[in-house]
């Protein structure tokens, strides 16, 4: 079942029939997905539906066992060179931020450009300052992650991912670990990023964000994409019963 149509002509991520097992547990049961360049895709669905596993497979933090994935024309195989090339194209933001606690904010952002992209130190530092301006916390550069609030840490994490100048950004529930008053500052940064034309896949339950920013919303259930549609259609006329049930659960409380 290929329930995702390609609306824009230029696909950057292609996933065909992706399967994944954890032991005997069949997490992903044939995911088909095409993401176009510049598209913002929001993924939602109940916990355990495989949405997180799916985006972790895209940059090989998990291995898929069947199916095919290609990112910007590079096949995701067991070839280390392909894996590293794909990782260089993709930035990832985690639920728990995962900043390096032994490095300052500044060093967190410049580490990968200097070592993985072999950028000059001064260039990496100039870029880090620009990125910190962009996410709105240039004054925190010399602090350590442990000294920042959750919202600030997540914005640093976004800046750190952007420092590799990725073509695609993956967000794995970026606001789920945040206090309510800090969610907005992170969503604002993500909205600004989307407006700049970045290709984004965002797992989130912030439906306000999905409605405003997403080009398309995909609903995951039991290891498959049940439904994918533009936000207007998704919220006003969901096709599947499972989607309706999920929406009624998260929208009315």
């Amino acid at each position: 079942m290929d329930c995702v149509e390609t609306r824009m002509s230029d696909p950057i991520i292609v996933a065909e029939d992706v399967h994944k097992w954890f032991g005997n547990f069949h997490v992903l049961r044939g995911v088909h997905l095409t993401v176009s360049r510049g598209e913002v895709l929001v993924i939602c669905g109940p916990s355990g539906s495989g949405k997180s596993t799916f985006i972790r497979i895209i940059n090989r933090l998990e291995e898929h066992q069947r199916g095919r994935i290609a990112v910007d024309g590079i096949e995701l195989t067991n070839d280390l060179r392909n894996i590293e090339a794909i990782r260089r194209e993709i930035g990832m933001v985690f639920q728990q931020f995962n900043l390096f606690p032994h490095l300052t904010v500044f060093e967190n952002i410049t580490l990968a450009p200097i070592w993985a992209r072999k950028v000059k130190r001064s260039d990496a530092e100039k870029q880090a300052l620009e990125l910190l301006e962009r996410v709105g916390i240039p004054e925190q550069a010399q602090k350590y992650p442990g000294q920042l609030s959750g919202g600030q840490q997540q914005r640093v994490a976004i800046a750190r991912a952007l420092a590799m100048q990725p073509k695609i950004m993956l967000f794995d529930e970026p606001t789920s670990a945040l206090d309510p008053e800090m969610i907005k500052e992170v969503l604002d940064v993500m909205g600004e990023l989307a407006a700049s034309g970045m290709t984004m896949i965002v797992i989130t339950h912030e439906m306000g964000f999905a409605r405003e920013v997403a080009d398309r919303i995909a609903f995951f259930d039991e290891g498959r994409i049940v439904e994918a549609a533009a936000p207007v259609d998704f919220f006003t006329a969901p096709e599947h019963e499972r989607t309706k049930l999920f929406l009624s659960q998260i929208l009315h409380h």
Binding site: N59, R60, L61, E84, R87, R88, I90, G91, M92, F94, Q96, N98, L99, F100, P101, H102, L111, A112, I114, W115, A116, R117, K118, K120, R121, S122, D123, Y144, G146, Q147, A157, R160, A161, M164
Partner: protein, 389 residues
């Protein structure tokens, strides 16, 4: 309106109680110390023992076969010093080797390679769960003393000779050409410094990470090697141990006692350090590794830049207590007859009867060594601690 002044009875005032607790503790301490002291001096007076340190100048009258040269005409004090040097020798080499072994075994136990992982597990579990003194007897009586007779020594490349008399290694000594070679060494050192500074400046100018010290080292080695080949004869010669009638002569020799003690301590402590290293690496959250991978850092960079600096913070404190254990366990030298400070002190006690003084000396020596070790590691730990607030 000011708050009503209530008078707190003294026995309920926590400020008073706090001070009172301290005062009671100090008084108790003084009383106990006093009891110990009077008890000791009364008993010593009754048995007619006088505590004093004059006996240290007396002639020892026994021989010590190991370490810096010692004749039976030397004093007790000097004998104890020989013991201290022997202990430090075992501790120093032991800590170094145990750390290397522990690192390797700890990382090996985390390996995804089944055989490597299982071998490390078997080593760690066997060694950690048997008493050290049994292992020392094993190394001494079942391994080193079971080596062939000195006349049928095992010859390893080097030549290194292994026999029941211990280990004999070639030792380098300087020839008359060394003085001309030393000019090359000095020149190499100067060049290396120049290269280091130049390379560092260059790296700073082009803003790249790199290893200027490696460049300096290569320069120094290159210059030294050049000098070596240019000289008519090599500036350093190897003094090879030669078998005489009863034993090897020349070269560097380790007794089986030293070898057994060192092996025992290194193998034993290494197993504990391995578990500490493994724990330290596992203590770094999985998210750290994933974040570093997602940033396209390669495996080695992930380990060196992200995992290891964080693991180190967890590893240092328990590894220090393993170093301290190794230092204190070295007193089991007495079990294999290696003349460490404890074993020498025992002999002195037997001959001079000065038990109280020598026990004080022994405890003092271990205390000083341990305090120095922990002071150093506390300092290091403070230096690398995480900033949280």
């Amino acid at each position: 309106m000011p708050a009503p002044q209530t008078v707190i009875p003294l026995w309920r005032d926590v400020r008073v109680l706090r001070i009172l607790a301290q005062v009671i503790f100090v008084i108790t301490l003084v009383l106990v110390a006093n009891w110990f002291y009077t008890n000791l001096s009364r008993n010593l007076g009754r048995t007619g023992i006088h505590v004093g340190f004059d006996f240290l100048h007396l002639t020892a009258g026994f021989r010590i076969s190991e370490g810096i040269s010692f004749e039976s005409t030397d004093s007790y004090g000097y004998a104890f010093w020989v013991g201290i040097v022997n202990t430090l020798r075992v501790i120093g080499i032991g800590i170094l080797l145990a750390t290397i072994l522990g690192l390797v075994a700890g990382v090996a136990r985390l390996s995804t390679n089944w055989l490597v992982c299982k071998m490390a597990s078997v080593y760690i579990e066997t060694i950690r769960n048997t008493p050290l003194v049994v292992q020392l007897f094993f190394w001494y009586t079942a391994t080193f003393l079971k080596l062939p007779n000195v006349h049928d020594s095992l010859e390893l490349p080097g030549p290194i000779y292994l026999s029941q008399r211990g280990l004999a290694l070639p030792v380098p000594h300087l020839t008359e050409h060394f003085s001309s070679w030393s000019y090359f060494l000095v020149a190499g050192l100067v060049l290396a410094c120049a290269v280091y500074v130049g390379r560092r400046r260059y790296l700073q100018r082009v803003q790249r990470p790199g290893f200027p010290s490696a460049w300096a080292l290569i320069t120094f080695l290159g210059t030294s090697a050049l000098g070596w080949f240019l000289l008519p004869r090599s500036p350093i010669a190897w003094e090879v141990p030669v078998l005489s009638r009863f034993n090897f002569e020349g070269g560097l020799q380790f007794t089986p006692e030293f070898a057994a003690l060192l092996t025992g301590l290194v193998v034993y402590t290494g197993a504990f350090i391995a578990e500490i290293v493994r724990g330290g690496i596992l203590a770094v959250s999985k998210g750290q590794k994933e974040a570093a991978r997602a940033l396209a850092l390669n495996n080695l960079q992930v380990l060196r830049l992200v995992i290891f600096p964080q693991a180190l913070r967890v590893i240092i404190p328990p590894i220090t207590s393993q170093y301290l254990n190794l230092a204190k366990n070295s007193s089991l030298a007495v079990a294999v007859g290696y003349p460490d400070l404890f074993s020498v002190a025992n002999t002195i006690i037997n001959q001079s009867g000065r038990a109280i003084e020598m026990i004080l000396f022994i405890m003092g020596s271990y205390l000083i060594m341990s305090l120095i070790t922990s002071a150093f590691s506390n300092w290091y730990n403070r230096r690398i601690r995480l900033v949280e607030h």
